[in-house]
Symmetry: C2
Subunit: 186 residues, 2 copies
């Protein structure tokens, strides 16, 4: 008989490493990079503490993986958001809905993105992640508009979402957002 109830002894958990990365993203979303610790991630992923240092080369390495995964997910969201765009009007609609949060990206997703930006500002090892994410999002926009307009749209999205996320009082209406978006698209 097994030594029942003494040890869960959960072994052979094939996508444990992947689950740890997801847990790390969750913890960053909830507590920020500053509040992200091995122990919290382990608790969310439901794995022992030692499992983190076993699979990853320290907390920095784990954070890099987490941000990388988040960037991939955000890229996918961008991709699907602009998938059916055919003309200028549809592009404006897509950007507007992305900002107005009718799209798939919620408040927490953007919060993680901002955490990444700030972390990358101080940790050069994360620059590759931000660079590739920016290139990806800009690349999607460049299918429809010239590079400069793409930069402008990217910045406008970032800025409006950030203000929307922070400002508790007065949110911009969808019509107002569309108005602003339309101005930057020639």
């Amino acid at each position: 008989m097994k030594p029942a109830a003494t040890r869960p002894a959960r072994r052979f958990d094939p996508d444990r490493k992947s689950r740890i990365i997801d847990a790390a993203v969750t913890v960053v979303a909830e507590h920020g990079v500053a509040g992200t610790t091995h122990r919290r991630i382990a608790a969310v992923a439901d794995v022992p503490l030692g499992s983190l240092t076993y699979h990853f080369d320290g907390l920095g390495d784990l954070l890099a993986h987490a941000f990388g995964r988040h960037a991939e997910r955000m890229s996918a969201i961008y991709e699907s958001c602009f998938a059916g765009v055919r003309d200028r009007a549809q592009l404006i609609d897509a950007v507007t809905s992305l900002i107005h949060a009718d799209a798939e990206a919620d408040q927490q997703d953007w919060a993680v993105a901002y955490e990444l930006y700030l972390a990358a500002l101080r940790d050069p090892a994360l620059r590759t992640v931000t660079e590739s994410w920016m290139r990806s999002s800009r690349g999607v926009l460049e299918r429809f508009v010239d590079p400069l307009t793409a930069r402008g749209l990217d910045a406008l999205i970032e800025g409006l979402v950030m203000h929307k996320t922070l400002s508790t009082t007065t949110a911009l209406s969808e019509a107002e957002i569309r108005d602003l978006v339309r101005r930057t698209v020639p």
Copy 2:
């Protein structure tokens, strides 16, 4: 005779509290909120460790003061940047130079601002600081344009500066920035 050279015994330092706040801003700029500790601030301000808990009600209180001071300084920069603006062309020039970092705000100032945004996202006590700072910067712009345009400009500034701060590779030229700014100003 005094017990020379044993104790500096620096007492009655009238603007010590203010100096501690400045030191806190410096530490946040260099190490981020995550790397901001009592001990580091004390070292920069050149005061004993106990002085921080004496003058402030914990680290959170000190951070709030630091962010408040930074917001004031940024408001002053905005103010002086738009002081001589008379017409649309001058407004566009002012915004462009603010983004292009010919203005007084340097990279570190913006970094602190982003730290504040992120911290406020999780700490409601900091919301008052961000709210007043946003109201202030928006108020300056609203002297020249309608409220919606002010929001758009504010977001564009934030987004472009953020991308500029992060992206190491390709920076936008001043002419390109001016082009984008001109589009959002009707």
